[in-house]
Protein backbone atom coordinates (compact mmCIF):
# COMPACT_ATOMS: atom_id res chain seq x y z
CA UNK A 1 0.00 0.00 0.00
CA UNK A 2 1.29 3.43 -0.94
CA UNK A 3 2.54 5.63 1.89
CA UNK A 4 0.80 9.02 1.75
CA UNK A 5 2.90 11.98 2.75
CA UNK A 6 1.41 14.88 4.71
CA UNK A 7 1.39 16.92 1.52
CA UNK A 8 -0.50 14.16 -0.30
CA UNK A 9 -3.05 14.12 2.54
CA UNK A 10 -3.54 17.87 2.16
CA UNK A 11 -3.96 17.57 -1.59
CA UNK A 12 -6.47 14.76 -1.24
CA UNK A 13 -8.40 16.80 1.29
CA UNK A 14 -8.44 19.84 -0.98
CA UNK A 15 -9.53 17.89 -4.02
CA UNK A 16 -12.20 16.06 -2.04
CA UNK A 17 -13.72 19.38 -1.02
CA UNK A 18 -14.40 20.40 -4.63
CA UNK A 19 -18.04 19.58 -5.39
CA UNK A 20 -19.02 17.31 -8.24
CA UNK A 21 -21.46 19.38 -10.31
CA UNK A 22 -21.95 16.72 -12.97
CA UNK A 23 -25.59 16.48 -13.96
CA UNK A 24 -26.37 20.02 -12.81
CA UNK A 25 -26.61 23.11 -15.01
CA UNK A 26 -23.83 24.74 -13.00
CA UNK A 27 -20.18 25.25 -13.81
CA UNK A 28 -17.97 25.91 -10.81
CA UNK A 29 -16.23 29.28 -10.79
CA UNK A 30 -14.67 29.98 -7.42
CA UNK A 31 -14.85 29.31 -3.72
CA UNK A 32 -16.28 32.34 -1.90
CA UNK A 33 -16.41 31.41 1.76
CA UNK A 34 -16.56 28.58 4.24
CA UNK A 35 -19.24 28.49 6.90
CA UNK A 36 -20.09 26.10 9.69
CA UNK A 37 -22.17 23.87 7.45
CA UNK A 38 -20.28 23.92 4.20
CA UNK A 39 -18.84 26.07 1.48
CA UNK A 40 -20.28 28.81 -0.72
CA UNK A 41 -19.08 28.85 -4.32
CA UNK A 42 -19.90 31.02 -7.29
CA UNK A 43 -21.00 29.11 -10.36
CA UNK A 44 -22.25 29.82 -13.83
CA UNK A 45 -25.79 28.63 -14.53
CA UNK A 46 -25.17 27.47 -18.08
CA UNK A 47 -28.86 27.16 -18.93
CA UNK A 48 -29.82 30.66 -17.91
CA UNK A 49 -26.34 32.09 -18.42
CA UNK A 50 -26.16 33.89 -15.14
CA UNK A 51 -23.93 33.76 -12.13
CA UNK A 52 -25.31 32.12 -9.01
CA UNK A 53 -24.02 31.29 -5.55
CA UNK A 54 -24.08 27.65 -4.47
CA UNK A 55 -24.21 26.74 -0.82
CA UNK A 56 -22.99 23.17 -0.58
CA UNK A 57 -22.73 20.95 2.47
CA UNK A 58 -19.41 19.23 3.16
CA UNK A 59 -20.72 15.84 4.09
CA UNK A 60 -23.07 13.81 1.89
CA UNK A 61 -26.39 12.52 3.11
CA UNK A 62 -29.90 13.90 3.15
CA UNK A 63 -30.78 12.64 6.60
CA UNK A 64 -28.21 14.52 8.63
CA UNK A 65 -29.21 17.45 10.81
CA UNK A 66 -27.14 19.78 8.67
CA UNK A 67 -28.80 18.60 5.45
CA UNK A 68 -32.21 19.12 7.04
CA UNK A 69 -31.16 22.56 8.17
CA UNK A 70 -29.84 23.53 4.73
CA UNK A 71 -32.98 22.28 3.06
CA UNK A 72 -35.12 24.16 5.55
CA UNK A 73 -33.09 27.31 4.97
CA UNK A 74 -33.70 26.98 1.22
CA UNK A 75 -37.43 26.51 1.80
CA UNK A 76 -37.58 29.48 4.12
CA UNK A 77 -35.82 31.65 1.55
CA UNK A 78 -38.01 30.40 -1.26
CA UNK A 79 -41.09 31.55 0.61
CA UNK A 80 -39.73 34.92 1.65
CA UNK A 81 -39.94 36.87 -1.57
CA UNK A 82 -38.71 40.29 -0.63
CA UNK A 83 -36.12 42.62 -2.18
CA UNK A 84 -34.22 42.52 1.11
CA UNK A 85 -33.95 38.73 1.25
CA UNK A 86 -31.70 36.80 -1.10
CA UNK A 87 -33.82 34.65 -3.45
CA UNK A 88 -33.19 30.92 -3.82
CA UNK A 89 -33.30 29.41 -7.32
CA UNK A 90 -32.80 25.69 -6.89
CA UNK A 91 -32.22 22.93 -4.36
CA UNK A 92 -31.02 19.38 -4.74
CA UNK A 93 -28.40 16.74 -4.13
CA UNK A 94 -25.16 16.57 -6.07
CA UNK A 95 -23.88 13.39 -7.66
CA UNK A 96 -21.52 12.98 -4.72
CA UNK A 97 -24.45 13.01 -2.29
CA UNK A 98 -24.01 16.53 -0.96
CA UNK A 99 -27.10 18.67 -0.48
CA UNK A 100 -26.94 22.14 -2.00
CA UNK A 101 -29.03 25.11 -2.94
CA UNK A 102 -28.48 27.79 -5.54
CA UNK A 103 -29.25 31.39 -4.75
CA UNK A 104 -28.81 34.79 -6.30
CA UNK A 105 -25.18 35.80 -6.42
CA UNK A 106 -24.94 39.02 -4.46
CA UNK A 107 -22.10 41.27 -5.43
CA UNK A 108 -21.41 43.72 -2.68
CA UNK A 109 -19.93 44.07 0.73
CA UNK A 110 -20.77 42.77 4.15
CA UNK A 111 -22.28 45.42 6.38
CA UNK A 112 -19.25 45.46 8.68
CA UNK A 113 -17.02 46.28 5.70
CA UNK A 114 -19.45 48.60 3.93
CA UNK A 115 -20.16 50.73 6.96
CA UNK A 116 -16.70 52.32 6.85
CA UNK A 117 -17.79 54.21 3.72
CA UNK A 118 -20.95 55.63 5.35
CA UNK A 119 -20.12 58.61 7.54
CA UNK A 120 -23.42 60.25 8.33
CA UNK A 121 -25.63 58.94 11.12
CA UNK A 122 -28.89 59.52 9.15
CA UNK A 123 -27.50 57.42 6.24
CA UNK A 124 -26.63 54.63 8.65
CA UNK A 125 -30.09 54.81 10.17
CA UNK A 126 -31.72 54.62 6.73
CA UNK A 127 -29.63 51.50 6.09
CA UNK A 128 -30.88 50.09 9.37
CA UNK A 129 -34.48 50.76 8.37
CA UNK A 130 -34.00 48.69 5.23
CA UNK A 131 -32.74 45.79 7.37
CA UNK A 132 -35.82 46.22 9.55
CA UNK A 133 -38.05 46.03 6.46
CA UNK A 134 -36.65 42.61 5.49
CA UNK A 135 -36.73 41.24 9.03
CA UNK A 136 -40.22 42.67 9.62
CA UNK A 137 -41.40 41.00 6.41
CA UNK A 138 -40.00 37.65 7.55
CA UNK A 139 -41.67 38.04 10.94
CA UNK A 140 -44.96 38.79 9.20
CA UNK A 141 -44.53 35.44 7.45
CA UNK A 142 -43.83 33.68 10.72
CA UNK A 143 -40.05 33.35 10.30
CA UNK A 144 -37.42 34.43 12.83
CA UNK A 145 -33.86 34.89 11.61
CA UNK A 146 -32.07 34.24 14.94
CA UNK A 147 -28.60 35.17 13.71
CA UNK A 148 -28.76 38.82 12.71
CA UNK A 149 -25.29 40.35 12.70
CA UNK A 150 -23.24 42.57 10.36
CA UNK A 151 -21.62 39.56 8.68
CA UNK A 152 -25.06 38.34 7.62
CA UNK A 153 -26.09 41.61 5.97
CA UNK A 154 -24.90 42.39 2.45
CA UNK A 155 -25.03 45.80 0.82
CA UNK A 156 -25.12 45.70 -2.96
CA UNK A 157 -23.48 48.12 -5.41
CA UNK A 158 -26.70 50.18 -5.65
CA UNK A 159 -27.13 50.37 -1.90
CA UNK A 160 -29.59 47.49 -1.79
CA UNK A 161 -29.60 45.68 1.55
CA UNK A 162 -29.93 41.90 1.72
CA UNK A 163 -30.36 39.81 4.84
CA UNK A 164 -28.41 36.58 4.34
CA UNK A 165 -27.81 33.26 6.07
CA UNK A 166 -31.17 32.00 7.27
CA UNK A 167 -29.59 28.73 8.44
CA UNK A 168 -30.71 29.25 12.03
CA UNK A 169 -34.16 30.57 11.11
CA UNK A 170 -37.08 29.42 13.19
CA UNK A 171 -40.43 28.90 11.59
CA UNK A 172 -43.20 29.95 13.95
CA UNK A 173 -46.00 28.95 11.62
CA UNK A 174 -46.12 25.93 9.34
CA UNK A 175 -47.98 27.88 6.69
CA UNK A 176 -45.48 30.61 5.98
CA UNK A 177 -46.37 30.65 2.30
CA UNK A 178 -49.70 32.26 3.09
CA UNK A 179 -49.54 35.98 2.35
CA UNK A 180 -50.05 38.27 5.28
CA UNK A 181 -53.29 40.17 5.78
CA UNK A 182 -53.94 43.25 3.59
CA UNK A 183 -51.24 42.17 1.21
CA UNK A 184 -49.57 45.33 0.17
CA UNK A 185 -45.87 44.58 -0.40
CA UNK A 186 -44.87 47.59 1.64
CA UNK A 187 -47.51 47.25 4.30
CA UNK A 188 -46.60 43.63 5.05
CA UNK A 189 -43.26 44.79 6.33
CA UNK A 190 -44.67 45.90 9.60
CA UNK A 191 -47.33 43.33 10.19
CA UNK A 192 -47.60 41.90 13.66
CA UNK A 193 -45.44 38.79 13.88
CA UNK A 194 -47.27 35.54 14.36
CA UNK A 195 -46.79 34.30 17.87
CA UNK A 196 -47.37 30.73 18.81
CA UNK A 197 -47.09 29.27 22.27
CA UNK A 198 -43.87 27.36 22.84
CA UNK A 199 -45.70 24.07 23.35
CA UNK A 200 -47.20 24.33 19.87
CA UNK A 201 -43.83 24.92 18.31
CA UNK A 202 -43.36 21.50 16.86
CA UNK A 203 -42.12 22.52 13.44
CA UNK A 204 -39.08 20.96 11.87
CA UNK A 205 -37.01 23.89 13.11
CA UNK A 206 -37.45 22.90 16.69
CA UNK A 207 -36.57 19.36 15.83
CA UNK A 208 -33.34 20.50 14.31
CA UNK A 209 -32.29 22.97 16.93
CA UNK A 210 -33.75 21.16 19.91
CA UNK A 211 -34.21 22.46 23.41
CA UNK A 212 -31.15 23.86 25.11
CA UNK A 213 -29.07 24.32 21.97
CA UNK A 214 -27.29 27.66 21.90
CA UNK A 215 -27.38 29.12 18.41
CA UNK A 216 -26.49 32.64 17.45
CA UNK A 217 -23.56 35.03 17.76
CA UNK A 218 -22.34 36.51 21.06
CA UNK A 219 -22.99 40.23 21.23
CA UNK A 220 -25.98 39.94 18.89
CA UNK A 221 -27.70 37.02 20.57
CA UNK A 222 -30.56 37.72 22.99
CA UNK A 223 -30.19 36.45 26.59
CA UNK A 224 -32.91 33.84 26.02
CA UNK A 225 -30.98 32.53 23.01
CA UNK A 226 -27.73 32.53 24.96
CA UNK A 227 -29.44 30.44 27.65
CA UNK A 228 -30.68 28.03 24.98
CA UNK A 229 -34.21 28.72 26.13
CA UNK A 230 -35.79 27.74 22.82
CA UNK A 231 -39.35 28.03 24.12
CA UNK A 232 -38.91 31.71 24.94
CA UNK A 233 -37.47 32.73 21.58
CA UNK A 234 -39.84 34.86 19.54
CA UNK A 235 -39.77 37.99 17.35
CA UNK A 236 -38.38 39.97 20.27
CA UNK A 237 -35.18 37.89 20.13
CA UNK A 238 -34.58 39.25 16.63
CA UNK A 239 -35.42 42.71 17.96
CA UNK A 240 -32.60 42.30 20.46
CA UNK A 241 -30.24 41.48 17.57
CA UNK A 242 -31.55 44.46 15.60
CA UNK A 243 -30.85 46.68 18.61
CA UNK A 244 -27.29 45.33 18.77
CA UNK A 245 -26.97 45.92 15.01
CA UNK A 246 -28.17 49.50 15.46
CA UNK A 247 -25.61 50.01 18.18
CA UNK A 248 -22.96 48.55 15.88
CA UNK A 249 -23.98 51.02 13.16
CA UNK A 250 -23.64 53.90 15.60
CA UNK A 251 -20.54 52.88 17.54
CA UNK A 252 -18.81 50.13 15.58
CA UNK A 253 -19.52 47.55 18.29
CA UNK A 254 -22.72 45.79 19.40
CA UNK A 255 -22.23 46.65 23.07
CA UNK A 256 -20.58 50.07 22.97
CA UNK A 257 -22.25 53.35 23.89
CA UNK A 258 -19.70 55.67 22.27
CA UNK A 259 -18.41 55.98 18.75
CA UNK A 260 -14.72 55.11 18.10
CA UNK A 261 -13.84 58.84 18.18
CA UNK A 262 -15.26 59.05 21.73
CA UNK A 263 -18.44 60.95 20.87
CA UNK A 264 -21.43 59.63 22.73
CA UNK A 265 -24.46 58.41 20.86
CA UNK A 266 -27.34 60.85 21.08
CA UNK A 267 -29.63 60.13 24.03
CA UNK A 268 -32.73 59.27 22.05
CA UNK A 269 -30.79 56.86 19.80
CA UNK A 270 -29.07 55.32 22.81
CA UNK A 271 -32.52 54.89 24.38
CA UNK A 272 -33.79 53.11 21.26
CA UNK A 273 -30.79 50.75 21.39
CA UNK A 274 -31.30 50.18 25.12
CA UNK A 275 -34.99 49.41 24.70
CA UNK A 276 -34.38 47.02 21.80
CA UNK A 277 -31.66 45.19 23.71
CA UNK A 278 -33.37 45.08 27.11
CA UNK A 279 -32.60 41.85 28.98
CA UNK A 280 -36.25 40.97 29.41
CA UNK A 281 -38.21 40.43 26.16
CA UNK A 282 -41.23 42.18 27.71
CA UNK A 283 -39.25 45.40 28.00
CA UNK A 284 -38.21 45.38 24.34
CA UNK A 285 -40.17 46.71 21.37
CA UNK A 286 -43.05 44.32 20.78
CA UNK A 287 -42.35 44.13 17.04
CA UNK A 288 -40.01 45.42 14.34
CA UNK A 289 -42.60 48.00 13.29
CA UNK A 290 -42.35 49.79 16.61
CA UNK A 291 -38.56 49.78 16.52
CA UNK A 292 -38.41 51.07 12.94
CA UNK A 293 -41.05 53.67 13.77
CA UNK A 294 -38.95 55.05 16.60
CA UNK A 295 -35.88 55.27 14.34
CA UNK A 296 -37.98 56.99 11.66
CA UNK A 297 -39.30 59.45 14.22
CA UNK A 298 -35.74 60.28 15.21
CA UNK A 299 -34.83 60.84 11.55
CA UNK A 300 -37.85 63.15 11.20
CA UNK A 301 -36.81 65.13 14.27
CA UNK A 302 -39.75 63.90 16.34
CA UNK A 303 -39.76 62.60 19.91
CA UNK A 304 -38.99 58.90 20.17
CA UNK A 305 -41.10 56.55 22.27
CA UNK A 306 -38.09 55.02 24.03
CA UNK A 307 -36.93 58.27 25.63
CA UNK A 308 -38.76 60.83 27.82
CA UNK A 309 -37.22 64.20 26.99
CA UNK A 310 -36.41 67.02 29.41
CA UNK A 311 -37.61 70.55 28.61
CA UNK A 312 -34.14 71.50 27.33
CA UNK A 313 -33.98 68.45 25.09
CA UNK A 314 -37.45 69.20 23.76
CA UNK A 315 -36.42 72.78 23.01
CA UNK A 316 -33.21 71.69 21.34
CA UNK A 317 -35.02 69.14 19.21
CA UNK A 318 -37.66 71.72 18.33
CA UNK A 319 -34.90 74.12 17.35
CA UNK A 320 -33.08 71.50 15.25
CA UNK A 321 -36.26 70.48 13.49
CA UNK A 322 -37.47 74.02 12.68
CA UNK A 323 -34.06 75.68 12.59
CA UNK A 324 -34.66 77.24 9.16
CA UNK A 325 -38.01 78.81 10.11
CA UNK A 326 -36.75 79.90 13.53
CA UNK A 327 -33.74 81.59 11.95
CA UNK A 328 -35.98 83.13 9.28
CA UNK A 329 -38.37 84.54 11.91
CA UNK A 330 -35.43 85.72 14.02
CA UNK A 331 -33.89 87.48 11.01
CA UNK A 332 -37.28 89.07 10.23
CA UNK A 333 -37.64 90.28 13.82
CA UNK A 334 -34.12 91.68 13.88
CA UNK A 335 -34.81 93.49 10.61
CA UNK A 336 -38.06 94.92 12.04
CA UNK A 337 -36.30 96.15 15.16
CA UNK A 338 -33.54 97.72 13.10
CA UNK A 339 -36.10 99.42 10.81
CA UNK A 340 -38.05 100.72 13.84
CA UNK A 341 -34.86 102.02 15.40
CA UNK A 342 -33.90 103.70 12.14
CA UNK A 343 -37.36 105.34 11.71
CA UNK A 344 -37.46 106.66 15.29
CA UNK A 345 -33.97 108.01 15.28
Amino acid sequence: MKFLSDRALDRLRDSAEVPDLEGTPYRLLERVARGGMGVVYTAEDEKLQRRVALKILDVPGKESDLAKRLLREARVLARLEHPGIVPVHDVGTLADGRVFYAMKFVEGQRLDQYIASVDSVPDRLRLFLRICEAVGFAHARGVLHRDLKPANIMVGPFGEVLVMDWGLAKILSKDISRPARNTDPDATVFEEPKQVPAEQDTTETSAVTGHGTVMGTPGYMSPEQARGDVGKIDARSDIFSLGALLRFLLTGKPEETSAPDGTRVERSLAAICAKATAAGPARRYPNVQELALDVSRYLDGLAVGAHRESLIEKTMRFYRRYRFFILLIAAYLVMRVLILLFIHR
Binding site: M1, K2, F3, L4, S5, D6, R7, A8, L9, D10, R11, L12, R13, S15, A16, E17, V18, D20, E22, G23, T24, R34, D58, V59, P60, G61, K62, E63, S64, D65, L66, L71, D90, V91, G92, T93, L94, A95, D96, G97, V99
Partner: protein, 252 residues
Protein backbone atom coordinates in the same frame (compact mmCIF):
# COMPACT_ATOMS: atom_id res chain seq x y z
CA UNK B 1 -35.89 17.83 -3.00
CA UNK B 2 -37.05 14.73 -4.87
CA UNK B 3 -37.13 16.56 -8.13
CA UNK B 4 -33.72 18.01 -7.48
CA UNK B 5 -32.38 14.61 -6.56
CA UNK B 6 -33.47 13.08 -9.80
CA UNK B 7 -32.33 16.06 -11.75
CA UNK B 8 -28.92 16.17 -10.20
CA UNK B 9 -28.20 12.49 -10.01
CA UNK B 10 -28.47 12.04 -6.26
CA UNK B 11 -29.39 8.40 -6.93
CA UNK B 12 -25.75 7.76 -7.79
CA UNK B 13 -24.79 8.07 -4.18
CA UNK B 14 -24.21 4.59 -2.76
CA UNK B 15 -26.64 3.22 -0.19
CA UNK B 16 -25.49 3.20 3.40
CA UNK B 17 -23.77 -0.01 4.36
CA UNK B 18 -24.24 -1.49 7.78
CA UNK B 19 -21.78 -0.01 10.22
CA UNK B 20 -19.07 -2.22 11.69
CA UNK B 21 -20.17 -1.16 15.14
CA UNK B 22 -23.54 -2.78 14.54
CA UNK B 23 -22.03 -5.73 12.70
CA UNK B 24 -19.48 -6.45 15.40
CA UNK B 25 -22.38 -6.95 17.85
CA UNK B 26 -24.10 -9.34 15.49
CA UNK B 27 -24.92 -12.87 16.57
CA UNK B 28 -23.61 -14.10 13.24
CA UNK B 29 -19.94 -15.02 13.85
CA UNK B 30 -19.04 -14.54 10.19
CA UNK B 31 -20.49 -11.03 10.11
CA UNK B 32 -18.69 -10.19 13.34
CA UNK B 33 -15.40 -11.36 11.89
CA UNK B 34 -15.87 -9.35 8.69
CA UNK B 35 -16.65 -6.25 10.74
CA UNK B 36 -13.55 -6.70 12.84
CA UNK B 37 -11.47 -7.08 9.70
CA UNK B 38 -12.83 -3.78 8.35
CA UNK B 39 -12.04 -2.10 11.64
CA UNK B 40 -8.64 -3.69 11.82
CA UNK B 41 -7.81 -2.62 8.23
CA UNK B 42 -8.54 1.02 9.09
CA UNK B 43 -6.92 1.10 12.50
CA UNK B 44 -4.05 -1.36 12.75
CA UNK B 45 -1.40 1.03 11.45
CA UNK B 46 -2.37 3.93 13.73
CA UNK B 47 -2.51 1.49 16.66
CA UNK B 48 0.90 0.00 15.81
CA UNK B 49 2.57 3.38 15.39
CA UNK B 50 0.90 4.67 18.52
CA UNK B 51 2.17 1.74 20.59
CA UNK B 52 5.68 2.26 19.17
CA UNK B 53 5.74 5.95 20.06
CA UNK B 54 3.43 6.33 23.05
CA UNK B 55 4.56 3.18 24.81
CA UNK B 56 8.07 3.17 23.37
CA UNK B 57 7.92 -0.51 22.47
CA UNK B 58 10.40 -2.22 20.15
CA UNK B 59 9.03 -3.33 16.78
CA UNK B 60 8.48 -7.01 17.66
CA UNK B 61 6.70 -6.24 20.94
CA UNK B 62 4.54 -3.58 19.23
CA UNK B 63 3.59 -6.08 16.53
CA UNK B 64 2.58 -8.59 19.16
CA UNK B 65 0.61 -5.99 21.10
CA UNK B 66 -1.16 -4.74 17.96
CA UNK B 67 -2.32 -8.21 17.03
CA UNK B 68 -3.18 -8.94 20.63
CA UNK B 69 -5.21 -5.76 20.91
CA UNK B 70 -7.46 -6.60 17.97
CA UNK B 71 -7.92 -10.15 19.24
CA UNK B 72 -8.83 -8.76 22.65
CA UNK B 73 -11.29 -6.41 20.99
CA UNK B 74 -13.07 -9.43 19.58
CA UNK B 75 -12.72 -11.81 22.50
CA UNK B 76 -13.72 -9.39 25.23
CA UNK B 77 -16.39 -7.79 23.06
CA UNK B 78 -15.02 -4.35 23.89
CA UNK B 79 -16.94 -2.70 21.08
CA UNK B 80 -20.22 -3.63 22.79
CA UNK B 81 -19.37 -1.01 25.39
CA UNK B 82 -18.75 1.70 22.82
CA UNK B 83 -21.38 4.45 22.76
CA UNK B 84 -21.08 6.76 19.74
CA UNK B 85 -23.07 9.42 21.60
CA UNK B 86 -20.40 9.66 24.28
CA UNK B 87 -17.19 9.59 22.26
CA UNK B 88 -15.58 9.07 18.91
CA UNK B 89 -14.66 5.54 17.97
CA UNK B 90 -11.00 6.34 17.51
CA UNK B 91 -10.81 8.04 20.92
CA UNK B 92 -12.42 4.98 22.45
CA UNK B 93 -10.01 2.67 20.62
CA UNK B 94 -7.00 4.73 21.66
CA UNK B 95 -8.07 4.54 25.30
CA UNK B 96 -8.62 0.80 24.90
CA UNK B 97 -5.08 0.47 23.50
CA UNK B 98 -3.67 2.35 26.50
CA UNK B 99 -5.52 0.19 28.96
CA UNK B 100 -4.62 -3.00 27.04
CA UNK B 101 -0.89 -2.19 27.04
CA UNK B 102 -0.98 -1.28 30.73
CA UNK B 103 -2.74 -4.53 31.61
CA UNK B 104 -0.26 -6.53 29.58
CA UNK B 105 2.56 -4.78 31.45
CA UNK B 106 0.99 -5.46 34.83
CA UNK B 107 0.46 -9.09 34.05
CA UNK B 108 4.00 -9.22 32.70
CA UNK B 109 2.92 -11.87 30.26
CA UNK B 110 3.99 -12.72 26.76
CA UNK B 111 1.10 -12.65 24.42
CA UNK B 112 0.14 -16.02 23.18
CA UNK B 113 -1.98 -15.97 20.10
CA UNK B 114 -4.06 -18.91 19.11
CA UNK B 115 -7.63 -19.83 18.44
CA UNK B 116 -8.91 -16.69 16.75
CA UNK B 117 -6.71 -15.53 13.94
CA UNK B 118 -6.89 -12.17 12.24
CA UNK B 119 -7.46 -12.48 8.54
CA UNK B 120 -6.12 -9.03 7.75
CA UNK B 121 -2.55 -9.08 6.52
CA UNK B 122 -0.67 -6.70 8.79
CA UNK B 123 2.31 -5.44 6.84
CA UNK B 124 4.38 -4.34 9.80
CA UNK B 125 7.49 -3.71 7.72
CA UNK B 126 5.69 -0.97 5.74
CA UNK B 127 4.39 0.55 8.99
CA UNK B 128 7.93 0.46 10.35
CA UNK B 129 9.28 2.15 7.21
CA UNK B 130 6.65 4.90 7.49
CA UNK B 131 7.51 5.37 11.13
CA UNK B 132 11.21 5.44 10.29
CA UNK B 133 10.57 8.13 7.69
CA UNK B 134 8.70 10.18 10.27
CA UNK B 135 11.36 9.74 12.94
CA UNK B 136 14.05 10.80 10.45
CA UNK B 137 12.42 14.21 10.40
CA UNK B 138 12.75 15.63 13.94
CA UNK B 139 9.87 18.03 13.29
CA UNK B 140 7.58 15.10 12.62
CA UNK B 141 8.22 13.33 15.95
CA UNK B 142 5.12 13.89 18.07
CA UNK B 143 5.53 15.26 21.56
CA UNK B 144 3.78 13.33 24.36
CA UNK B 145 1.04 15.99 24.42
CA UNK B 146 0.37 15.68 20.71
CA UNK B 147 0.12 11.90 20.60
CA UNK B 148 -3.65 12.10 20.36
CA UNK B 149 -3.24 14.35 17.31
CA UNK B 150 -0.67 11.92 15.94
CA UNK B 151 -3.09 9.01 16.35
CA UNK B 152 -5.78 10.99 14.50
CA UNK B 153 -3.43 11.90 11.67
CA UNK B 154 -2.29 8.31 11.29
CA UNK B 155 -5.93 7.23 11.26
CA UNK B 156 -6.60 9.64 8.37
CA UNK B 157 -3.46 8.45 6.58
CA UNK B 158 -4.54 4.86 6.99
CA UNK B 159 -8.09 5.59 5.83
CA UNK B 160 -6.95 7.53 2.77
CA UNK B 161 -4.32 4.91 1.92
CA UNK B 162 -7.01 2.22 1.96
CA UNK B 163 -9.22 4.36 -0.26
CA UNK B 164 -6.31 4.97 -2.67
CA UNK B 165 -5.64 1.23 -2.77
CA UNK B 166 -9.28 0.51 -3.53
CA UNK B 167 -9.20 3.20 -6.21
CA UNK B 168 -6.17 1.51 -7.76
CA UNK B 169 -8.07 -1.80 -7.84
CA UNK B 170 -11.12 -0.07 -9.30
CA UNK B 171 -9.02 1.55 -12.02
CA UNK B 172 -7.44 -1.80 -12.85
CA UNK B 173 -10.85 -3.47 -13.02
CA UNK B 174 -12.16 -0.75 -15.31
CA UNK B 175 -8.97 -0.73 -17.39
CA UNK B 176 -8.29 2.84 -16.39
CA UNK B 177 -4.72 2.31 -15.22
CA UNK B 178 -3.61 5.55 -16.85
CA UNK B 179 -6.23 7.44 -14.82
CA UNK B 180 -4.68 6.11 -11.64
CA UNK B 181 -1.18 7.00 -12.82
CA UNK B 182 -2.31 10.56 -13.48
CA UNK B 183 -3.98 10.74 -10.08
CA UNK B 184 -0.88 9.32 -8.45
CA UNK B 185 1.42 11.77 -10.21
CA UNK B 186 -0.68 14.84 -9.54
CA UNK B 187 -2.35 14.23 -6.17
CA UNK B 188 -0.26 11.63 -4.37
CA UNK B 189 3.37 12.28 -5.20
CA UNK B 190 3.17 15.74 -3.73
CA UNK B 191 5.18 17.27 -6.56
CA UNK B 192 4.13 20.93 -6.50
CA UNK B 193 5.75 21.70 -9.81
CA UNK B 194 3.86 19.26 -12.01
CA UNK B 195 1.06 20.78 -14.08
CA UNK B 196 -1.84 19.41 -16.09
CA UNK B 197 -0.02 20.46 -19.27
CA UNK B 198 3.09 18.54 -18.27
CA UNK B 199 1.04 15.45 -17.57
CA UNK B 200 -0.73 15.78 -20.91
CA UNK B 201 2.65 16.07 -22.64
CA UNK B 202 4.14 13.20 -20.71
CA UNK B 203 1.29 10.84 -21.58
CA UNK B 204 0.70 12.29 -25.07
CA UNK B 205 -2.97 12.99 -24.43
CA UNK B 206 -5.15 16.12 -24.69
CA UNK B 207 -5.34 18.38 -21.65
CA UNK B 208 -9.07 17.71 -21.27
CA UNK B 209 -8.33 13.98 -20.92
CA UNK B 210 -6.05 14.80 -17.98
CA UNK B 211 -8.61 17.02 -16.25
CA UNK B 212 -11.45 14.55 -16.89
CA UNK B 213 -9.39 11.63 -15.62
CA UNK B 214 -8.40 13.54 -12.49
CA UNK B 215 -11.97 14.66 -11.84
CA UNK B 216 -13.17 11.06 -12.12
CA UNK B 217 -10.39 9.71 -9.88
CA UNK B 218 -10.98 12.37 -7.23
CA UNK B 219 -14.71 11.75 -7.26
CA UNK B 220 -14.16 8.01 -6.87
CA UNK B 221 -11.54 8.55 -4.18
CA UNK B 222 -13.95 10.70 -2.22
CA UNK B 223 -16.76 8.18 -2.65
CA UNK B 224 -14.61 5.26 -1.48
CA UNK B 225 -13.15 7.17 1.47
CA UNK B 226 -16.64 8.20 2.60
CA UNK B 227 -17.91 4.67 2.18
CA UNK B 228 -15.08 3.34 4.34
CA UNK B 229 -15.74 6.04 6.91
CA UNK B 230 -19.41 5.22 7.01
CA UNK B 231 -18.55 1.60 7.68
CA UNK B 232 -16.49 2.36 10.73
CA UNK B 233 -18.90 4.86 12.28
CA UNK B 234 -21.60 3.92 14.72
CA UNK B 235 -24.17 6.53 13.76
CA UNK B 236 -25.02 9.17 11.16
CA UNK B 237 -24.00 11.84 13.65
CA UNK B 238 -20.63 10.21 14.17
CA UNK B 239 -20.19 9.85 10.42
CA UNK B 240 -20.79 13.56 9.96
CA UNK B 241 -18.32 14.38 12.71
CA UNK B 242 -15.66 11.96 11.54
CA UNK B 243 -15.94 13.07 7.92
CA UNK B 244 -15.38 16.68 8.91
CA UNK B 245 -12.39 15.61 11.01
CA UNK B 246 -10.89 13.32 8.35
CA UNK B 247 -11.19 15.89 5.58
CA UNK B 248 -10.03 18.72 7.83
CA UNK B 249 -13.19 20.77 7.34
CA UNK B 250 -13.42 21.66 11.01
CA UNK B 251 -10.02 23.31 10.94
CA UNK B 252 -10.64 25.42 7.83
Amino acid sequence: MTQGDEQHGGDRFPPTRRSVIEAVRSIDAEERERALEALCAAYWKPVYKYIRLRWNRPADAAQDLTQGFFMELLERELLDKFDSKKSRLRTYLRLCVDSFVMNEDKAGRRLKRGGNVLHVALDFSSAEEELGAAVMDPAAIPSPESLEEFFEKEWVRSLFALAVEELRELCAAKERERTFLLFEAYDLDGNEKISYEQLAQEYGIPLTDVTNALAWARREFRRIALQRLREICGSEEEFQRETRAAFGWDAK
